[in-house]
Every structure is written in C-alpha cells, then in structure tokens.
Point group: C2
C-alpha cells in the first residue's frame, strides 16, 4: 500500500540493502561496491524516487541552498549579478533562494531572517548597509557571507566588487586628460544607491585635485532610468552653464541623456560630451558607443560563489576581491 511518494526506505527494501547505503549512493559519498550501486540505481529508477531535501537538510543541519539578497530587479545590473551567481552554482547541487530588498535595510533584515531559517550554506547580499540586528545575526552565525558590488568598506566575511570611489576618481582623471573644463553631473536618488554617491565623491576628488569642480548638478529622487536621465539632462541644460561634459550616475541615465541630445539637436561630444557607468550593452549599441566605465557584474556574482563554496568554515581573515573596472573610451566623451 503506497501511501505517498517513495522514500529512501522504499528504495532500500526494493534493492535489498539498508537505507544508509541508498543514501550514500544518492549523495555519491563513501565507497560503494559497483554492483550494489547498480542495484540501487535500478530501484531508484523503478520507483521514480526523488530525495526529500528538507529531510536531508534537517538531518545534516545544513542545506544546499544559497540565500541571495538583491536590492532590486528593475535595474539590469542585479539580474546580471544573479546570472553570475547562477553560473557559479552550475554543476553544484546548490540552488539560489532569493529575496529582493528594495534597497531597504529593514526589509533586508526580515528577508535575511526568513532565508536563514532554511539553514543555507551561504548568504550573498549587497553592499555594507545592514541593520544592527542583521549585522549581529550575521556576525553571530557561522554561515559564510558575501557582500557584493562594493569594496570600499570592511566586509563581515567576503567582499567582491570594485572600488566605486576609485572608479569615480578614474572617471575624473580621464575626462580631465581629455581636456574637458566645465563639468556637469546628473544623478538619481542616492539615499538608496550608496555606490553612486561614492562614485560622485571620487569624481569630485579628482576634479578638486586638478583645481576644478563640478559646475552644476541635477538629481532626481527616484531610481535611475533612461526616462529620468533624459528629463534631468534637459533640466540641467536649461540653466545655460555652458557645460562641456556631463557625467551620469550610470549608463541608463546616460543613454537617456544621449536621447535628449538627439531630440534637441545637440551634437554629442562636439557640443556636449556624455559619460556613464557600468558598460551596459545598450550604451555600446548606440549610434555612438557610450563612453563609460565597465563594471564586471557577472564576474562579481560568479567569483563570490566560488569563494563561498571553497570553504565551509568562515576563515579567520576577511577576503576582499577586487573585480576591477575599465574605462571604455567610446565616442561620447
């Protein structure tokens, strides 16, 4: 009388071995005689046995789950990081369990607790902004933790990303070398995007070191988008400050800026140079490839997973991986 899906013990009975032997075959762990392995495999096949991972997780006190906390799914950048994570997880038995924090530490804390309840093998999150509760939880716990995107602060365990401050500084240096004199900046809400702020800080530092400054800025208070970049650049240019280059908080915004120039017959680069951040595909397919800084989102996700899975235990020393960035010359600046 089958009373539900087949279990380990059903397989064991059919194969004429003990449960633990089946368990070992399933997990490919310990040594098994080729013969018994075959017998067991046949029984599994015959019954259509599917291991119950909840039971496995309970018995072994840890699961093949990786908790992933992303700030947003609206910004292409995070799906790309997730792609990297997924790539790193390929050919392992791990699965990503995801939560979207909407850049909100309180929500992050709730999601973190909820995900931690699954006893994941590791937690991947973004940035260094966490509630004190979350921080304490993470510090106390023994799970491995990766904080992605940014390496401008000390991580709990592992940080993988780039220095946004240095990327901003490099942007400034690059544009100065190109001879630009009057800088404008178009940004989005950085209460929610700390890294955009770090880049602007770096940019300003570079200008200051060269005796220059950002002549005019304009911010939206929503998230970044092409629409916003378009609108904010329009607003900025109304003020007639004779800018010769505008730096945007990221590529989405810059692409919007490019569209504004097209609509308004502003010759990009000759009349007004544009500069972004991220190196998204869309920017590179514009009639004039966008000048920008390439961040390696995919690599960030992938490297993080590799490091986390390399060691069960959290090492005594913190790991910081710089995935770097490169100036993409493009044709808009």
């Amino acid at each position: 009388m089958r009373k539900g899906p087949p279990t380990l013990s059903d397989v064991a009975r059919l194969a004429g071995v003990s449960e633990i032997t089946v368990s070992r075959v399933v997990r490919n762990k310990g040594s098994i005689a080729p013969k018994t392995r075959d017998v067991v495999a046949a029984a599994i096949e015959k019954l259509g046995y599917l291991p119950n991972r909840a039971a496995g997780a309970l018995a072994s006190a840890n699961s093949a789950l990786i908790a992933v906390l992303l700030p947003s799914l609206s910004n292409v950048v995070f799906p790309e990081v997730l792609r990297g994570i997924n790539e790193g997880l390929k050919d392992t038995r791990y699965q990503p369990l995801i939560g979207v924090t909407e850049y909100n530490p309180i929500l992050e804390e709730q999601l973190l607790f909820s995900l931690l309840a699954w006893k994941p093998r590791a937690v991947i999150t973004t940035g260094f902004e966490h509630t004190s509760n979350a921080l304490r939880m993470l510090a106390t716990s023994t799970v491995r933790v990766a904080e992605l995107m940014d390496i401008d602060s000390q991580p709990i365990d592992v940080a993988v990303g780039l220095s946004h401050r240095r990327a901003g500084y490099a942007t400034g240096r690059h544009l100065i070398q190109r001879g630009y004199q009057r800088f404008g900046y178009v940004g989005h809400n950085w209460h929610k995007d700390v890294r955009a702020k770090l880049r602007l800080d770096g940019l300003q530092a570079a200008l200051q070191d060269a005796g220059k400054t950002v002549s005019d800025m304009e911010f939206s208070d929503g998230p970044s988008s092409t629409e916003t970049g378009k609108a904010m650049l329009a607003t900025l240019l109304k003020r007639k400050r004779q800018l010769d280059v505008v730096v945007f908080s990221n590529d989405d915004m810059a692409v919007g800026g490019f569209f504004h120039c097209m609509s308004s017959s502003i010759a990009v680069k000759r009349d007004l140079a544009l500069f972004g951040f991220n190196g998204l595909e869309i920017g590179q397919s514009l009639p004039m490839p966008l000048s920008t800084v390439r961040s390696n989102r995919f690599m960030i996700g992938k490297r993080a997973v590799e490091i986390l899975l390399a060691n069960d235990e959290r090492p005594s020393s913190k790991t910081v991986v710089d995935t770097g960035f490169e100036i993409v010359e493009g044709e808009t600046a």
Copy 2:
C-alpha cells in the same frame, strides 16, 4: 550547556509551555490566549529563536517555497516576470527558489527535479515545452503548476500570459490599416524562442488575409539583442527590397534597428517604419517612441502567484488567464 542555536523546545521550556504551543504562536495558527502568546513571544525574543524551516517542511510535508524556472536572465523580460512573482509573494511567507533553464528542456527537467525535492508549494515555469519526463512528473505530482507567458496551448494546471499568435495578428492588422505595403521581418533564433515564432505566424496570417505577404526576412541564430537587431536590419536593407516597414521579433531588436537607421541617416517612419514587441521602457524613451505591442510581464508573474496561492489543491479544471496586450502606437510606424 547550549549546544547550538535555540530550538522550539528551548523556547517552550523557558516559557513554561509545550512545544506545540510555541509552534502555534510562531505560525500564528490555532487559537492562543493573549497571555501565553506574550510569554512565548518574550521567550522567543530573549533566546533569539529562529525557526528551522527544513524541520517544518519535513513535518508538514510541504514548504513555503515556490519553485521558479526561468529561461534566461539576460532578457529583461524575465526579471520583470520575477518582479511580478516577487510582488505577489510579498506579505506571504513564501520565498522563490529559482532555476535558469537557458531555454533548454533537458536542463529544465534536471532543475525541476532538483527543485521538486524541496516539496515546494507550487512550480512556476515558462511556456509549454517540457520533456516527457518533466511532463509526467508534473502530471503525477500534486503541486500546483503555472506555465507563464503564453496561452496558445493547454496548460497542465494554470497558464498566465497572452496569445502571441493573436498579438502577431494584431500587429499585421494595425500595420495594414496604416497603409504599409511592403513588409520586412527581422528575427532571432526561435528554436529557442517559440513565442517569437507564434507572433510571426500571426503576422503572416494577417498579411495573408489581406492578400499580402512578408517580402523579406532576416534571422540571427543567437538570442535577441540591440546589437543583433542593428546588424540584421543592416543585412536586410542591403538587399534593396524597397520595404516600407520592418517588424522585429521584439523591442530589443527593434531598438537596434532604430540605431541602425540613425547611423545610416534613414528617416524612421518616413523612409522606413519600425515595429517591435514588448513595450520596454527603453523603446519608449527613444527620441521617437517605438511603435510596439505591450505585453504585461509584471502582471503575468503577479497573477500567477495569486492564482497558485489561492488554492492548495489543483482544481479539476485548468485555468487560463489572458493578461492581454495593447498596441502602442508610438512614432516609428
């Protein structure tokens, strides 16, 4: 002697009640005297108790997990669906467990098995193309199943999406009414994207019904992208077929086509009209908003979750939800 994180029984001991009472408080299930609830809450707080969901899943034979299988993370469309799913899951205790199939049914099957091992409350997948194993597994199992994006076939349990065939047909009708005569088509690899093929079928049917036909087509064999749209339109136009409108397999491709026109000084709409599919933000921020068909990706994810969570049991009749589509007039056609 604390030997690990606190468990239900630790909380129960501290609160002076039985385990099941604590369990009920935690799950907010059954009736509890306000007083005991407070005592238990205090004990939980004091110990920093975190429920172990793996144990819960094992004991109750189902988890607060929703298995989500997405074809890709590179195409913005799927993160948007995921956003919808996430929105539907908000304020529930459910978490999405995700797998990326890369449009590969074999991989989908493997991931499906792997995700099913967690005894998820429901499975969300894409389209109707599954291996026979996967199909059998899903049919046999009692989990609820939603197949997203498309409603052109019969689902296993629930389908949420739009008729791509009808969307294609509507595109054809619309363009015919606008007076276009010579139609071109630029597509990407549809061995992997069945829905793009359905739309083309619909388009061709509409043209045929009006005594017309697609004069020339060009396909790339990779996935869709702006770069590809740009390149394929260039190739198509080299053949000098005097097209007056080109329909693209989706907005990404169409935006690429738009960029090509800009680079080649082709006056969009006057010289050559362009038409896409999806209604992505990027298309609408172009200097000329893209003419396209809006699919409601976010809504598809959200509705699917709502339906799945409404009933534990799979109803005897299949559910098909049409999230519809709308022609977006735009300025490019």
